[in-house]
């Protein structure tokens, strides 16, 4: 057969196009199936009532509240720590062995499997520091997990602020910290915000880190203090899907839908913020 450049062009195009479409497929299927099968379960009662009859009926209110508490707790620890260390790394740290080591550590921290964080939290916070399985221990564990996200996005946001802003500010007799506070951070804020939201959605969705550190199998009440266990959406979903027999599939899909909505809507907000930020940026 003669070599025909038009034919190979067509084949290449079709293959590449097909590959791209295949990427779309799982997303559409996952969202489609979960919405289709979970939507009938969603009701005011489902969202605001305690679970009943061994979690086969009733609502998922404590799991939603538990997840919200965990997210809040995670941010309480990870946000100041992550943002402050990122500011130090970008604005103050000299390029030396220690700084490079710290940066390497952050990259590696991002690559640790989440179950390892769970076991680490169990060892350090639950057992060694004797917090027990609690909101405190779970939040700390999740905080360590999302630290690299917050540090990395904050660093990128700070580095994207033009060096000239710092120079001008310093040349006007403004001190280094004031320069960071008034002419760097305000311009980096949207980027930092994006990182925070991504961290939140990660913290809300992970199961393994909370498995041993906070999540309760069945606890139909709201927590009284940060030393209480709570139910959490991802773990609750795991429990009703594998540990409890005869659960109406509707309830499972409904729970999955709620979790998915929380995480996806946060990601959506992050994407919108980021694109707004890019449009506004003129330098």
């Amino acid at each position: 057969m003669k070599h025909n450049p038009y034919r190979t062009e067509k084949i290449a195009f079709s293959l590449l196009f097909l590959a791209t479409i295949v990427v779309l497929l799982p997303v559409i299927l996952i969202i489609g199936i979960i919405v289709q099968k979970g939507w009938p379960a969603i009701s005011w009662e489902f969202l605001t009532a305690m679970p009943e009859k061994g979690m086969r009926e009733g609502g998922i209110f404590p799991a939603i509240v538990g997840t919200l508490f965990l997210v809040l707790g995670t941010l309480t620890f990870a946000l100041p720590l992550g943002v402050m260390s990122a500011i130090f790394l970008v604005e103050y740290a000299k390029d030396n062995v220690l700084t490079r080591l710290v940066k390497l550590a952050i990259i590696n921290l991002a690559g640790v499997p989440s179950v390892v964080y769970g076991l680490f939290g169990l060892g350090i916070f639950v057992m060694f520091l004797k917090f027990g399985a609690s909101i405190l221990a779970g939040s700390l564990t999740l905080a360590i997990m999302v630290l690299p996200i917050i540090i990395t996005t904050t660093r990128e946001a700070l580095e994207s602020v033009p060096q000239s802003f710092r120079e001008v500010s310093l040349s006007l007799g403004v001190s280094k910290w004031q320069t960071i506070r008034y002419s760097v951070l305000p311009h980096a804020l949207p980027g930092i915000l994006t990182g925070i939201i991504l961290a939140v959605s990660r913290a809300a969705g992970e199961t393994a880190p909370i498995l041993f550190t906070v999540a309760a199998f069945y606890l139909p009440k709201l927590p009284d203090s940060i030393f209480d266990q709570v139910m959490a959406l991802p773990y609750h979903l795991y429990v009703i899907s594998t540990q409890v027999p005869n659960v109406d599939p509707k309830v499972r899909y409904g729970t999955a839908l709620v979790l998915l909505l929380i995480v996806l809507s946060m990601n959506f907000v992050a994407i919108v913020l980021r694109s707004k930020f890019r449009k506004k940026k003129k330098w």
């Binding site: 390029d95 000239s164 802003f165 120079e167 310093l170 040349s171 006007l172 007799g173 004031q178």
Partner: protein, 251 residues
Amino acid sequence: MKTAVETQDLNLFYGDFQALKNINLRVKENSITALIGPSGCGKSTLLRTFNRMNDLIEGVRIEGRIVIEGENILAGGTDLVTLRKKVGMVFQRPNPFPLSIEENILFAPKIHKTAAKADHERIVEESLKSVLLWDNLKDKLGKNALNLTLEQQQRLCIARLLPVKPEILLMDEPCSALDPIATERIEELMRVLKEHYTILIVTHNMQQAARVSDDTGFMLLGELIEFASTGSIFTNPSDQRTNDYITGRFG
């Protein structure tokens, strides 16, 4: 005339590379002093020693003395914040903050807390009048400064310095991003400003130095080859290398 800035045996190193060699010069008060020379001759580096902006570069080492108002600003305990309030800087590219015109001018006084809220309006007006922008911009003070023309942006950057009450203005090729007409107007502004400020300008443009400055220093490979009144540098240079440069034989 009084001396505003004096350098004594100034040497500057980037690591092993010596960027400034034994510089001695005296800048007169309320005059315009131009530093000329080919790219990489160290003129910008010299300018940036006067407000210690070179401190931002890692591995920089400076020897000698720079005396401003009787004090050696290279001495250990020098307060950089005070120094930089006294010695303002205009950069090569106009670089207003992406804020409103008003906010740009009030940026420093707000942080330094040197002005009461009631004075803000007056400061904005005075600063813009000093750079001859007030009539054009008084109705759009809330507009984003990045929407101005480059010339207006550069004027605004000069205006932004004034509320800090500097005595010396360092200008690092302030017109290199501007067209000839805008350049001429900025030069006009410099002549007005020299009534109140001592101006040091680095420029690539020999005609500009000849037009605007009172004294001129010619630099080559980190050395100050010749420093004299602008008239004598351009009509009767004492060094052959200066003569070669101003007649366009190299550079």
